[in-house]
């Protein structure tokens, strides 16, 4: 489902003396449907960078990034947007929303943009918010004023609203209490059972052990090691 071949990444900082940072060389990764792969490595090793390259958020300097049949490095913006709507989900660490939009709509939005009927989309959103223990009294409010943990859960609910065939998870269990952590891990297991290919970053070792089939140390993709 997700296949990276010889991906490299270079940052050129034009306004800071033209510094060129080569951060990744010859990264290869294959994640078939139904498998969960954890990216590991110390902070700054390039876990998030790799994930952002898969999502099309960062531009790869070379190589091929296939998600389904789409090569993210070559696709037009509208093709990437379609991929993100239908195939590739991403749960980031931070919630980014338009002010004023109620939580229920924030969570239902991925479904609405797919053309799912409003009532069905909202029912699904309500189910997820309920499972993630967001009190119903908050559903009509904008999540911008919520606590960190609540925002994280809203973010997760949004990411899982549509059953994406491929999913990127950036620290999905960080800042969650035991009960909610358990809910999130169950959601991940359910997604895997449906055949979702998952790439995740988990600092929570027990969580990683439980849901991930393999670990890839991204330190192996750094240019110093490859050289």
């Amino acid at each position: 489902m997700i296949k990276l071949s010889n991906v490299s990444k270079v940052f050129t900082l034009h306004n800071q003396g033209g510094t060129v940072l080569e951060v990744m060389r010859c990264a290869n990764l294959f994640v078939p449907a139904g498998e969960c792969v954890a990216l590991t490595g110390v902070s700054g090793a390039g876990k998030s960078t790799l994930m952002r390259i898969i999502y099309g958020n960062y531009v790869a300097a070379a190589g091929e990034v296939l998600v389904g049949d789409t090569d993210v490095t070559q696709a037009e913006p509208r093709e990437i947007l379609q991929l993100r709507r239908e195939t590739l989900g991403y749960v980031s660490q931070f919630l980014r929303v338009v002010p004023r939009v109620p939580t229920l709509e924030v969570v239902a939005e991925p479904l609405l943009s797919l053309g799912v009927d409003e009532q069905k989309a909202k029912a699904r959103a309500a189910e997820l918010l309920g499972r993630l223990n967001i009190p119903e009294a908050l559903w009509g409010l904008s999540p911008t004023t919520f606590s960190g943990g609540e925002q994280q859960r809203v973010n997760i609910a949004r990411g899982f609203a549509h059953n994406f065939p491929a999913l990127l998870l950036d620290e999905p269990t960080a800042s969650l209490d035991a009960t909610n952590r358990e809910v999130v891990l169950t959601l991940i297991e359910e997604a895997k059972a449906r055949g979702t290919a998952i790439v995740g970053i988990f600092h929570d070792e027990a969580a990683r052990e439980r849901v991930c089939d393999r670990e890839i140390d991204v330190t192996g993709f750094s240019p110093q090691v490859a050289a």
Binding site: F11, T12, L13, H14, N15, R52, G56, N57, Y58, V59, P77, R78, I80, L81, V98, P99, R100, V101, L112, S113
Partner: protein, 256 residues
């Protein structure tokens, strides 16, 4: 899929000075494109050339018309282009006063565009105007008031209602949130986003506010000194800018 708007090598010069040059892009139905750049970068010049407000010196702008398919709007006769401007196109000005008739009531402002495309039944026009005032969150009781009695944010929303009432397919926006305070801005952005999604509009938004494009635009074009220096998916251009100027632009934003 046929692009709704296909721009090829458009250029505009002010005497020896470059307004904008070598601009080419395709805009597909339902896409929202942002154009960012500092003052004088040529973004408004480009927008005005595309919308037919300024004559371009070179290039082609093909618009996929409902009846005849793609037509070069720069070569259209003035009456044809004006008809487009009243029907399939909309232009939201930075200053609402430029897009409204200040001496006519709010309902009249919305109704006028309907009458321009042939609506004649007073009851229908008024009902339609009332519906649109509601959609842009202007109280129905204000329908007979003139825009001179409205606040800046209300005037801007009225301008949007006036523009969208005829169901255009392409909306040009020049700094739609410029000059409004942040709370009004947020409200307007939320409104625009909903309208774009529900009506399947395509839009070209010129702004210097990167937060606005992040929320509204699918794609981004960065201009400097009349040239397009970078373009791509909005979050990609903002999070991993490749060109020196874009990097400077992104890193100059103050963090709140």
């Amino acid at each position: 899929m046929t692009p709704l708007l296909s721009v090829k090598d458009v250029a505009k010069y002010y005497g020896p000075h470059i307004g904008c040059t070598d601009v080419s892009f395709d805009l597909y139905p339902g896409e929202v494109m942002g154009i960012v750049g500092e003052s004088g970068s040529g973004k408004s010049t480009l927008l005005n050339c595309l919308a037919g407000h300024l004559p371009a010196d070179r290039g082609e702008v093909f618009f996929d018309t409902r009846v005849d398919g793609p037509r070069d709007t720069l070569k259209m006769r003035e009456p044809e282009r004006r008809l487009l401007g009243r029907t399939d196109w909309a232009f939201v000005h930075q200053h609402a006063r430029d897009g409204l008739r200040m001496g006519v009531s709010a309902g009249g402002n919305v109704g006028e565009r309907l009458m321009a495309v042939g609506a004649r039944n007073y009851g229908d026009i008024r009902a339609n105007a009332q519906d649109w005032l509601g959609r842009v969150e202007i109280d129905a009781s204000r329908i007979d008031d003139r825009p001179t009695t409205f606040s800046g944010g209300m005037q801007q929303r009225l301008q949007i209602a006036r523009n969208l009432v005829t169901g255009p397919r392409l909306v040009f926006m020049d700094e739609p949130t410029g000059g409004l305070d942040v709370s009004v801005q947020a409200r307007l952005l939320d409104l625009l986003r909903g309208l774009v999604r529900d009506l399947g509009l395509s839009a070209i938004i010129v702004t210097h506010d990167l937060a606005v494009v992040r929320l509204l635009a699918d794609r981004l074009m960065v201009m400097k000194s009349g040239h397009v220096v970078e373009s791509g998916l909005t979050d990609q251009v903002l999070d991993d800018p490749q060109h020196a100027y874009t990097q400077l632009l992104v890193s100059s934003v103050l963090q709140v």
